[in-house]
């Protein structure tokens, strides 16, 4: 099953449309700023349309995760094919795209957030052409990460994100932008070179068989087929890497619970944890967020952080279930530390943006705790929390942007009594803040509840400790509302205007989603249900296999 437009699959379209847009933007003369803005809006808008098509055509029953047959909208084209020489096997890399219940949620989120971020970028006045060109390139990188099913391709997209992000923070950011941009770049590159090494180690540990028509067969299938006319190759295919039967005996990562597998798992983990970011790998985040322009903060919090958590679920979990089970407690612990630490630090902030940044650390901790539980509710909650956090934090950063555009300050203590001055603003901000603190009836509550519910089954004590966060979050969130809206209005803010149409256009749909999913979360939960069930079973299966091995 697949949707094609002009003979090209929908996933290729949704991934590379922004690059097409980038080329067109580059062709426009730089004086035509509005044309450039509309061009970017048009292409991200098309992306949203495609995302809706994907959403409606998505088959809820198919699980995906570790089988190519279970993936949807699959596109597969041979990309690199070097014939075998005596001392080096055939190199066969595929351009392989596909989505399952895990990635479809991220695809929707990316399309939506990118679109909103373009609207929010309307006020950018400096080098508009360069800004939107880089923005669109960034968009392609992010989307590609979520649809790639070949590790090599995944890595390419993963790295493509870095450079535009560096420039978007570095050129259009705040006063300390140079520092923030290079810190972001170095941190994430450090993580990704470790990931690269783990990827190469996986490559040399996994073989599959290829037939003359170029179709890949797992070792088990090939044995059934009697090896007729098949050639053995190494592969970057993610699903092949998830099948223990494909690992070459005596290769670096063969077997279960070996120290090399743990090392490879940790290498991948560091790469992903930096992106999430988990404490203690988080220090790039507050700097990047504070210095980045509003729209880029939205992208960072809304999509980029999800790449880390997504990577864990897509790669670490199914490829290293043994290591995952071995380290699940440690992972949960880091999640809880992130939750509590992030909340405590957020409480101490007087800079609006920094506060949101630390609240992101705290909320992403929930995601990690949820997925470390390795059961269906926990992981469903985690993925749903990724989606909700994407929407809610995007709102929060947009809200900061609105006030910053008007006052050019982010000092929380400088505000007060804005409720009457900016009533519409107050309404939207209240929705976002209550969603962020997990008020029932708004989407954040459901995902946090699921995550904690799942986590409680696996890590009782840790989860009980983590619940402190809910109180802390309510504390700092409400305190912000109090400092901004209540009390007396300082003289200098008497002239502030309420949010305008453009700002409403980007905030209202997000607020609607937050409220809608808070009351009726099924549309999103149904998308990922089969996949999460399947992943949980897979991990359980691996867990019991390991236990049997130990006995």
């Amino acid at each position: 099953m697949g949707v094609t437009i002009l003979g090209i699959g929908v996933l290729t379209w949704i991934t590379f449309l922004p690059v097409l847009g980038m080329v067109l933007v580059l062709l426009l003369p730089k004086e035509r700023r509005d044309a450039i803005r509309w061009m970017a809006l048009f292409f991200t808008g098309l992306q949203v349309v495609l995302a809706i098509i994907i959403f409606t055509k998505f088959d809820h029953g198919m699980a995906g995760i570790n089988t190519e047959a279970g993936m949807q909208f699959v596109e597969k084209v041979p990309w690199i094919d070097v014939k075998s020489v005596a001392w080096f096997g055939r190199i066969h890399i595929e351009y392989l795209l596909g989505i399952d219940g895990l990635s479809v949620v991220m695809v929707l989120l990316t399309a939506l957030i990118s679109f909103v971020a373009v609207i929010s970028s309307w006020t950018i006045d400096k080098a508009v052409k360069g800004y939107f060109a880089l923005f669109l390139l960034l968009d392609t990188g992010m989307m590609g990460v979520f649809v790639a099913l070949d590790f090599f391709l995944f890595y390419m997209f993963w790295e493509v994100v870095l450079l535009p992000m560096y420039f978007l923070i570095g050129v259009w950011g705040g006063p300390r932008r140079e520092y923030a941009a290079i810190k972001f770049f170095l941190y994430t590159l450090f993580g990704s070179v470790l990931m690269l090494l783990a990827m190469i180690a996986l490559y040399f540990s996994v073989t599959v068989y290829i037939d003359p028509a170029g179709v890949i067969h797992s070792v088990a299938d090939a044995t059934k087929m009697g090896m007729q006319g098949l050639e053995k190759i190494y592969t970057f295919n993610m699903m092949a890497m998830m099948d223990p039967g494909n690992y070459v005996p005596d290769s670096l990562l063969a077997g279960t619970n070996t120290s090399w597998r743990y090392i490879a798992y940790i290498a991948l983990f560091v790469g992903f944890a930096i992106k999430v970011p988990l404490v203690p790998f988080h220090t790039w985040l507050p700097d990047a967020h504070v210095e980045a322009p509003t729209a880029i903060s939205v992208i960072l919090a809304g999509v980029l952080l999800k790449m880390g958590a997504y990577g864990m679920l897509r790669i670490s979990f199914p490829m290293f279930p043994d290591a995952m089970i071995h380290y699940s407690w440690h992972l949960a612990l880091l999640g809880v530390i992130s939750m509590v630490y992030g909340a405590l630090v957020a409480m101490a902030q007087t800079d609006f943006k920094k506060l949101i940044a630390y609240s992101s650390v705290s909320h992403m901790g929930v995601v990690v705790l949820g997925m470390a539980s390795m059961n269906t509710p926990g992981m469903t909650g985690a993925v749903f929390q990724m989606f909700n956090h994407g929407i809610i934090t995007a709102m929060l950063f947009l809200i900061v942007g609105v006030i910053y555009d008007r006052t050019h300050t982010r000092g929380l203590n400088e505000f007060g009594g804005l409720m009457n001055q900016m009533p519409k603003y107050a309404a939207v901000m209240t929705v976002a803040f209550f969603a962020a603190l997990g008020l029932p009836g708004l989407s954040g509550f459901i995902s946090e509840a699921f995550s904690l519910l799942g986590a409680f089954q696996t890590f009782r004590t840790l989860t009980i400790i983590s619940v402190i966060t809910i109180v802390l979050t309510a504390g700092y969130m409400l305190w912000v509302l109090q400092r901004v809206f209540l009390g007396s209005l300082p003289e200098k803010w008497k002239g502030l205007t309420d949010i305008n149409g453009r700002e409403m256009a980007m905030l209202a749909p997000l607020a609607a989603i937050v409220i809608f999913l808070g009351i009726y979360p099924s549309p999103v939960l149904d998308l990922m249900n089969s996949s999460m069930n399947f992943l949980a079973e897979l991990l359980q299966h691996a867990g019991s296999a390991t236990l049997m091995g130990l006995q």
Partner: protein, 498 residues
């Protein structure tokens, strides 16, 4: 005998063409003293003819002049790299403001370029210690003169002098090493030396000393730590065209020589139990440990010191030291996969490094400066070439989707596949360090405004075209690297080895 020599000469056409080019260029320089265009034209034609002749040698497997020189796919590959960079360097030189100052006669410059190229080509094929030594000397002496060619600039003369002194020292050491090897084995022919070693009654310690001394000569050519001291000063002081040439072609020659020497001399061809493509060394000659250490030192020092550089030429000098370190990793693994990775890296390195040098030269032509501080605000003044420079730097860092990533990928793959995990980790961390100093240049180009706003820099169509010639492969080979890998895999065959 004479008949044999005549027959062998047919396999020596590229080198003969270069020799002829050199001689004709000298003559032409005597006749047309005022117009160096004639000489440059002659050298250009000579190089192109040589390139065509090299291309014609694609699948040969022979040894000529009584085992003096090997003509094999491995040599063929390096000759290609050398001659392509030589052609590009002539093109660069024609557009260099630094060289083409009114009072300078450039005839000798182009003639010496031909001699230098000849020396490097001989390095690619030399299979006799004496021949190796002569090839190194030929290329060294030409490069001493060329690096001091802008003699009114004091740092150019200083560079030349330093180069001579270090060069003399390391070739002295190398010669000493060669003489010990000759004393031990009674031969200068590396195939015979291999046979003598296979018989086994040679003192390991003596041979190790000889090997290390010989390594000094190679290490000097590829500017590996601790034989790198000349590199930054020479690279900074020499005309930028020569710097670019030395950083690519001279390294290629050095690597070719070193790999051939170690592989042919120390490989125990009686061992057949190894996996295919792996090399067995004689017991007691674990020289790859020395190379591993050298590799780590070279890349780490190159990268760490590059961070502190403010002159872009000097920065690129240290970066090219670091790249030699990366490539040395491929030697350590002792198999064809590592060798193929080095070859892949060389092709990639040819485009990205020459590209970076060319852009630096273009900017220096206009602004007269190679200082990183003077790159402030350049992004707005010269959008196209700064984007090109950014791509070359991204590629040098090794980020996808550029060719540099493919080079690193294959090196790391070779290391991990043969269990050198720690070395791969060191290499990977080094590329993170390298990002920092490359990004410093981006920062100045795009993030910081110029102290005094200058007019836009306008470049000609030809210059843009040359940048594109280097830029397109740098990106394209990152997205589709099948031909690159095929070429490298076909070029690992060294004459006289299994």
């Amino acid at each position: 005998m004479a008949e044999q020599i005549l027959q062998d000469l047919q396999l020596f056409y590229p080198e003969l063409a270069l020799t002829a080019t050199f001689l004709v260029a000298i003559l032409a320089d005597l006749i047309f003293r005022r117009t160096s265009v004639v000489v440059s034209g002659i050298v250009m034609i000579g190089f192109v003819v040589t390139a065509v002749l090299v291309l014609g040698q694609s699948d040969l497997h022979a040894s000529i002049f009584s085992n003096m020189i090997a003509v094999d796919p491995f040599a063929h590959f390096f000759k290609l790299v050398i001659i392509i960079s030589a052609i590009l360097i002539v093109v660069f030189s024609l557009g260099s403001a630094e060289l083409n100052s009114p009072n300078r006669k450039l005839g000798e410059y182009y003639a010496l370029l031909a001699a230098l190229t000849l020396g490097m080509m001989l390095m690619a094929g030399a299979s006799n210690l004496l021949m190796m030594y002569l090839a190194i000397e030929l290329s060294s002496i030409s490069s001493y003169i060329l690096s001091g060619y802008t003699k009114e600039a004091p740092d150019s003369s200083e560079a030349s002098l330093k180069y001579v002194i270090y060069g003399a020292l390391s070739s002295g050491l190398m010669l000493y090493g060669i003489s010990i090897i000759y004393g031990l084995t009674g031969s200068l022919d590396i195939y015979t030396i291999n046979q003598v070693l296979a018989e086994g009654d040679i003192s390991g310690v003596a041979l190790l000393i000889a090997g290390v001394l010989t390594l000094a000569g190679f290490g000097y050519k590829i500017s590996a730590v601790p034989f790198h001291f000349w590199t930054p000063d020479v690279y900074e002081g020499a005309p930028i065209t020569i710097t670019a040439f030395l950083s690519v072609a001279s390294k290629a020659g050095g690597f070719a020589l070193m790999i051939r020497f170690f592989k042919v001399t120390f490989i125990d061809s009686s061992v057949v139990t190894l996996p295919e493509g792996a090399w067995a060394t004689f017991e007691g000659f674990e020289w790859y440990h020395i190379i591993a250490a050298m590799s780590v030192l070279t890349m780490t020092l190159g990268n760490l010191v590059a961070i502190w550089q403010n002159n872009l030429k000097r920065l690129l000098a240290y970066s090219s030291i670091a790249h030699a370190g990366y490539m040395l990793m491929g030697v350590v693994v002792l198999n064809n996969q590592g060798l193929a990775a080095i070859l892949i890296y060389f092709v990639v390195y040819l485009f990205m490094n020459l590209g970076a040098f060319y852009v630096v030269m273009l900017v220096a032509n206009k602004t007269g400066s190679e200082d990183i501080e003077d790159y402030k605000g350049l992004g707005a003044r010269a959008p196209f070439i700064t984007v090109a420079l950014a791509v070359f730097f991204i590629s040098l860092t090794g980020l996808p989707p550029t060719a540099g990533f493919i080079g690193k990928l294959y090196l790391f793959a070779a290391l991990l596949n043969s269990g050198w995990v720690w070395l791969a980790v060191v290499g990977a961390l080094n590329s993170v360090i390298s990002l920092y100093y490359y990004v410093r240049v981006f920062r100045n180009m795009y993030l910081r405004p110029a102290d005094q706003p200058g007019p836009p820099l306008v470049f000609g169509k030809l210059q843009t075209a040359i940048v594109l010639v280097l830029l397109i492969p740098t990106i394209l080979l990152g997205l589709y690297f099948t031909p690159l890998v095929q070429l490298a895999q076909a070029s690992v065959k060294i004459f006289g080895t299994p």
